[in-house]
Symmetry: none
Subunit: 153 residues, 2 copies
Protein backbone atom coordinates (compact mmCIF):
# COMPACT_ATOMS: atom_id res chain seq x y z
CA UNK A 1 0.00 0.00 0.00
CA UNK A 2 2.12 2.77 -1.32
CA UNK A 3 0.21 5.86 -0.36
CA UNK A 4 -1.67 7.17 2.62
CA UNK A 5 -4.85 7.78 0.66
CA UNK A 6 -5.17 4.10 -0.02
CA UNK A 7 -4.68 3.27 3.65
CA UNK A 8 -7.34 5.76 4.60
CA UNK A 9 -9.70 4.26 2.06
CA UNK A 10 -9.12 0.76 3.41
CA UNK A 11 -9.53 1.97 6.95
CA UNK A 12 -12.88 3.54 6.22
CA UNK A 13 -14.08 0.46 4.36
CA UNK A 14 -12.95 -1.77 7.20
CA UNK A 15 -14.64 0.45 9.76
CA UNK A 16 -17.87 0.38 7.83
CA UNK A 17 -17.74 -3.41 7.63
CA UNK A 18 -21.19 -4.80 6.99
CA UNK A 19 -22.98 -1.72 8.18
CA UNK A 20 -24.46 0.49 5.55
CA UNK A 21 -22.89 3.64 6.87
CA UNK A 22 -20.10 4.96 9.02
CA UNK A 23 -19.48 8.25 10.74
CA UNK A 24 -16.03 9.69 10.96
CA UNK A 25 -14.42 12.77 12.43
CA UNK A 26 -12.30 14.42 9.79
CA UNK A 27 -9.75 15.81 12.22
CA UNK A 28 -9.36 12.63 14.25
CA UNK A 29 -8.88 10.55 11.15
CA UNK A 30 -6.32 13.01 9.84
CA UNK A 31 -4.49 12.91 13.11
CA UNK A 32 -4.58 9.13 13.18
CA UNK A 33 -2.95 9.03 9.77
CA UNK A 34 -0.75 12.05 10.42
CA UNK A 35 -1.95 13.83 7.35
CA UNK A 36 -3.60 17.11 6.49
CA UNK A 37 -7.34 17.11 7.23
CA UNK A 38 -8.02 18.06 3.66
CA UNK A 39 -6.53 14.78 2.59
CA UNK A 40 -9.54 13.10 4.08
CA UNK A 41 -11.64 15.12 1.69
CA UNK A 42 -9.38 14.06 -1.12
CA UNK A 43 -9.94 10.41 -0.27
CA UNK A 44 -13.67 10.94 0.00
CA UNK A 45 -13.83 12.83 -3.26
CA UNK A 46 -11.81 10.33 -5.22
CA UNK A 47 -12.86 7.03 -3.65
CA UNK A 48 -16.22 7.34 -1.99
CA UNK A 49 -18.05 8.71 -4.96
CA UNK A 50 -21.57 8.13 -6.20
CA UNK A 51 -20.11 6.12 -9.05
CA UNK A 52 -18.68 3.73 -6.55
CA UNK A 53 -21.92 3.60 -4.60
CA UNK A 54 -21.46 6.03 -1.76
CA UNK A 55 -23.19 9.19 -0.61
CA UNK A 56 -21.98 11.57 2.03
CA UNK A 57 -23.42 14.00 4.54
CA UNK A 58 -21.58 16.19 6.98
CA UNK A 59 -21.90 18.87 9.57
CA UNK A 60 -19.41 21.47 10.73
CA UNK A 61 -18.87 23.00 14.13
CA UNK A 62 -18.69 21.37 17.52
CA UNK A 63 -19.87 17.79 17.28
CA UNK A 64 -19.39 17.88 13.53
CA UNK A 65 -19.05 14.68 11.54
CA UNK A 66 -18.88 13.10 8.13
CA UNK A 67 -21.27 10.29 7.40
CA UNK A 68 -20.58 7.94 4.53
CA UNK A 69 -23.41 5.69 3.40
CA UNK A 70 -23.39 2.76 1.06
CA UNK A 71 -25.95 2.64 -1.67
CA UNK A 72 -27.52 -0.78 -1.48
CA UNK A 73 -27.37 -3.02 -4.49
CA UNK A 74 -31.05 -3.60 -5.14
CA UNK A 75 -32.94 -3.91 -8.37
CA UNK A 76 -34.66 -0.63 -7.72
CA UNK A 77 -31.38 1.11 -7.15
CA UNK A 78 -29.88 -0.41 -10.26
CA UNK A 79 -32.85 0.92 -12.15
CA UNK A 80 -32.59 4.38 -10.63
CA UNK A 81 -28.91 4.41 -11.32
CA UNK A 82 -29.59 3.58 -14.92
CA UNK A 83 -31.95 6.51 -15.09
CA UNK A 84 -29.36 8.83 -13.68
CA UNK A 85 -26.72 7.69 -16.10
CA UNK A 86 -28.74 7.39 -19.26
CA UNK A 87 -32.15 8.94 -19.28
CA UNK A 88 -31.60 12.16 -17.46
CA UNK A 89 -28.32 13.52 -18.69
CA UNK A 90 -27.30 17.12 -18.23
CA UNK A 91 -30.59 18.61 -19.23
CA UNK A 92 -34.12 17.55 -18.46
CA UNK A 93 -37.33 19.06 -19.74
CA UNK A 94 -40.42 19.18 -17.58
CA UNK A 95 -42.15 16.90 -20.01
CA UNK A 96 -39.45 14.28 -19.97
CA UNK A 97 -39.34 14.38 -16.20
CA UNK A 98 -43.05 13.73 -16.10
CA UNK A 99 -42.66 10.67 -18.27
CA UNK A 100 -39.98 9.28 -16.04
CA UNK A 101 -42.06 9.97 -12.95
CA UNK A 102 -45.06 8.24 -14.41
CA UNK A 103 -43.02 5.13 -14.82
CA UNK A 104 -41.61 5.44 -11.30
CA UNK A 105 -45.13 5.75 -9.94
CA UNK A 106 -46.41 2.76 -11.84
CA UNK A 107 -43.45 0.80 -10.55
CA UNK A 108 -44.33 1.87 -7.02
CA UNK A 109 -40.99 3.50 -6.49
CA UNK A 110 -42.55 6.86 -5.73
CA UNK A 111 -46.08 7.58 -4.63
CA UNK A 112 -48.54 9.79 -6.42
CA UNK A 113 -48.12 12.52 -3.89
CA UNK A 114 -44.35 12.34 -4.04
CA UNK A 115 -44.55 12.64 -7.78
CA UNK A 116 -46.75 15.70 -7.51
CA UNK A 117 -44.30 17.26 -5.11
CA UNK A 118 -41.39 16.68 -7.44
CA UNK A 119 -43.26 17.94 -10.47
CA UNK A 120 -44.29 21.03 -8.58
CA UNK A 121 -40.89 21.72 -7.10
CA UNK A 122 -39.22 21.47 -10.48
CA UNK A 123 -41.93 22.87 -12.69
CA UNK A 124 -41.21 25.61 -15.17
CA UNK A 125 -43.19 27.92 -12.96
CA UNK A 126 -41.21 27.15 -9.82
CA UNK A 127 -37.92 27.42 -11.63
CA UNK A 128 -38.51 30.95 -12.79
CA UNK A 129 -35.29 31.58 -14.63
CA UNK A 130 -33.94 31.72 -18.15
CA UNK A 131 -34.81 28.69 -20.23
CA UNK A 132 -31.24 27.85 -20.97
CA UNK A 133 -30.44 26.92 -17.42
CA UNK A 134 -33.85 25.66 -16.36
CA UNK A 135 -33.34 22.22 -17.85
CA UNK A 136 -29.87 22.01 -16.41
CA UNK A 137 -31.06 22.82 -12.91
CA UNK A 138 -33.91 20.39 -13.25
CA UNK A 139 -31.57 17.62 -14.36
CA UNK A 140 -29.26 18.24 -11.46
CA UNK A 141 -32.06 18.44 -8.90
CA UNK A 142 -33.89 15.43 -10.25
CA UNK A 143 -30.75 13.34 -10.19
CA UNK A 144 -30.14 14.38 -6.61
CA UNK A 145 -33.63 13.18 -5.76
CA UNK A 146 -33.14 9.83 -7.45
CA UNK A 147 -29.93 9.47 -5.53
CA UNK A 148 -31.71 10.10 -2.25
CA UNK A 149 -34.34 7.56 -3.16
CA UNK A 150 -31.59 5.02 -3.51
CA UNK A 151 -30.28 5.62 -0.02
CA UNK A 152 -33.68 5.97 1.56
CA UNK A 153 -34.67 2.38 0.85
Amino acid sequence: MANISESIEQFIIATMGDNDYVEISRNSLAEYFSCAPSQINYVLDTRFTVDRGYVKESRRGGGGFIKISKIKNTDTNAYLNGLILESVGDELSAKRMLQILDKLVSDNIVTDKESVIIVTALSDDSLSMPFTIKDKIRAKAFKNILLKLMVKE
Copy 2:
Protein backbone atom coordinates in the same frame (compact mmCIF):
# COMPACT_ATOMS: atom_id res chain seq x y z
CA MET B 1 -24.62 12.88 20.10
CA ALA B 2 -21.35 14.66 20.41
CA ASN B 3 -22.44 18.11 21.45
CA ILE B 4 -24.20 19.36 24.52
CA SER B 5 -26.75 21.41 22.61
CA GLU B 6 -28.19 18.32 21.07
CA SER B 7 -28.44 16.60 24.44
CA ILE B 8 -30.20 19.60 25.87
CA GLU B 9 -32.63 19.61 22.96
CA GLN B 10 -33.41 15.93 23.46
CA PHE B 11 -33.81 16.42 27.17
CA ILE B 12 -36.33 19.18 26.71
CA ILE B 13 -38.27 17.22 24.13
CA ALA B 14 -38.28 14.17 26.38
CA THR B 15 -39.38 16.22 29.35
CA MET B 16 -42.20 17.71 27.35
CA GLY B 17 -43.31 14.28 26.23
CA ASP B 18 -46.90 14.33 25.11
CA ASN B 19 -47.72 17.49 27.01
CA ASP B 20 -48.07 20.62 25.01
CA TYR B 21 -45.73 22.66 27.14
CA VAL B 22 -42.89 22.42 29.60
CA GLU B 23 -41.39 24.81 32.10
CA ILE B 24 -37.71 24.87 32.77
CA SER B 25 -35.36 26.83 34.96
CA ARG B 26 -32.53 28.13 32.84
CA ASN B 27 -29.93 28.02 35.58
CA SER B 28 -30.83 24.57 36.85
CA LEU B 29 -30.77 23.14 33.36
CA ALA B 30 -27.41 24.76 32.72
CA GLU B 31 -26.07 23.34 35.93
CA TYR B 32 -27.45 19.92 35.11
CA PHE B 33 -25.58 19.95 31.81
CA SER B 34 -22.57 21.79 33.21
CA CYS B 35 -22.77 24.51 30.63
CA ALA B 36 -23.12 28.27 30.50
CA PRO B 37 -26.70 29.42 31.12
CA SER B 38 -26.63 31.27 27.85
CA GLN B 39 -26.20 27.98 26.09
CA ILE B 40 -29.75 27.19 27.06
CA ASN B 41 -30.77 30.28 25.15
CA TYR B 42 -28.71 29.11 22.22
CA VAL B 43 -30.54 25.81 22.16
CA LEU B 44 -33.87 27.55 22.47
CA ASP B 45 -33.06 30.00 19.72
CA THR B 46 -31.78 27.43 17.26
CA ARG B 47 -34.08 24.50 17.98
CA PHE B 48 -37.31 25.62 19.54
CA THR B 49 -38.24 28.15 16.93
CA VAL B 50 -41.61 29.26 15.67
CA ASP B 51 -40.85 27.60 12.36
CA ARG B 52 -40.54 24.32 14.18
CA GLY B 53 -43.74 25.00 16.01
CA TYR B 54 -42.74 26.31 19.39
CA VAL B 55 -43.37 29.52 21.29
CA LYS B 56 -41.65 30.64 24.44
CA GLU B 57 -42.50 32.77 27.43
CA SER B 58 -40.30 33.58 30.38
CA ARG B 59 -39.97 35.58 33.53
CA ARG B 60 -36.85 36.75 35.34
CA GLY B 61 -36.16 37.19 39.02
CA GLY B 62 -37.08 34.91 41.88
CA GLY B 63 -39.33 32.13 40.71
CA GLY B 64 -38.36 32.89 37.15
CA PHE B 65 -38.91 30.30 34.44
CA ILE B 66 -38.93 29.57 30.75
CA LYS B 67 -42.03 28.02 29.33
CA ILE B 68 -41.85 26.27 25.98
CA SER B 69 -45.14 25.47 24.28
CA LYS B 70 -46.00 23.49 21.20
CA ILE B 71 -48.15 25.28 18.69
CA LYS B 72 -51.11 23.14 17.84
CA ASN B 73 -52.54 23.37 14.38
CA THR B 74 -56.23 22.82 14.37
CA ASP B 75 -56.56 23.69 10.73
CA THR B 76 -54.00 22.43 8.28
CA ASN B 77 -55.16 24.56 5.39
CA ALA B 78 -55.11 27.68 7.49
CA TYR B 79 -51.61 26.89 8.61
CA LEU B 80 -50.38 26.27 5.09
CA ASN B 81 -52.11 29.39 3.95
CA GLY B 82 -50.33 31.39 6.61
CA LEU B 83 -47.02 30.01 5.48
CA ILE B 84 -47.71 30.88 1.88
CA LEU B 85 -49.10 34.34 2.45
CA GLU B 86 -47.02 35.57 5.34
CA SER B 87 -44.35 33.35 6.76
CA VAL B 88 -42.26 32.29 3.80
CA GLY B 89 -42.03 35.55 1.97
CA ASP B 90 -40.04 36.19 -1.19
CA GLU B 91 -36.84 34.56 -0.06
CA LEU B 92 -36.26 31.32 1.79
CA SER B 93 -32.97 29.90 2.99
CA ALA B 94 -32.38 26.16 2.93
CA LYS B 95 -32.04 26.21 6.67
CA ARG B 96 -35.34 27.87 7.31
CA MET B 97 -37.10 25.59 4.88
CA LEU B 98 -35.78 22.66 6.86
CA GLN B 99 -37.25 24.03 10.05
CA ILE B 100 -40.61 24.53 8.45
CA LEU B 101 -40.50 21.01 7.05
CA ASP B 102 -39.70 19.66 10.50
CA LYS B 103 -42.97 21.03 11.67
CA LEU B 104 -44.87 19.77 8.64
CA VAL B 105 -43.51 16.31 9.34
CA SER B 106 -44.37 16.38 13.01
CA ASP B 107 -47.86 17.52 12.11
CA ASN B 108 -48.13 14.62 9.66
CA ILE B 109 -48.74 16.95 6.76
CA VAL B 110 -45.83 15.49 4.86
CA THR B 111 -43.99 12.24 5.41
CA ASP B 112 -40.34 11.91 6.21
CA LYS B 113 -39.58 10.78 2.70
CA GLU B 114 -41.53 13.62 1.16
CA SER B 115 -39.59 16.02 3.31
CA VAL B 116 -36.32 14.53 2.13
CA ILE B 117 -37.47 14.88 -1.46
CA ILE B 118 -38.32 18.53 -1.00
CA VAL B 119 -35.10 19.29 0.83
CA THR B 120 -33.13 17.59 -1.90
CA ALA B 121 -34.99 19.15 -4.79
CA LEU B 122 -34.49 22.62 -3.37
CA SER B 123 -31.10 22.22 -1.75
CA ASP B 124 -28.30 24.67 -2.40
CA ASP B 125 -26.59 21.93 -4.35
CA SER B 126 -29.56 21.25 -6.61
CA LEU B 127 -30.19 24.91 -7.19
CA SER B 128 -26.74 25.51 -8.60
CA MET B 129 -27.03 29.18 -9.40
CA PRO B 130 -25.94 32.51 -7.96
CA PHE B 131 -26.83 32.94 -4.32
CA THR B 132 -28.89 36.01 -4.87
CA ILE B 133 -31.62 34.21 -6.73
CA LYS B 134 -31.34 30.85 -4.99
CA ASP B 135 -33.46 31.92 -2.05
CA LYS B 136 -36.01 33.55 -4.34
CA ILE B 137 -36.42 30.44 -6.45
CA ARG B 138 -36.65 28.31 -3.35
CA ALA B 139 -39.35 30.50 -1.87
CA LYS B 140 -41.38 30.37 -5.05
CA ALA B 141 -41.03 26.62 -5.51
CA PHE B 142 -41.70 25.87 -1.86
CA LYS B 143 -44.85 27.94 -1.85
CA ASN B 144 -46.02 26.11 -4.95
CA ILE B 145 -45.55 22.86 -3.09
CA LEU B 146 -47.42 24.11 -0.04
CA LEU B 147 -50.26 25.06 -2.30
CA LYS B 148 -50.43 21.50 -3.59
CA LEU B 149 -50.43 20.18 -0.06
CA MET B 150 -53.62 22.00 0.75
CA VAL B 151 -56.49 19.58 0.72
CA LYS B 152 -59.42 20.53 -1.42
CA GLU B 153 -62.90 20.32 -0.05
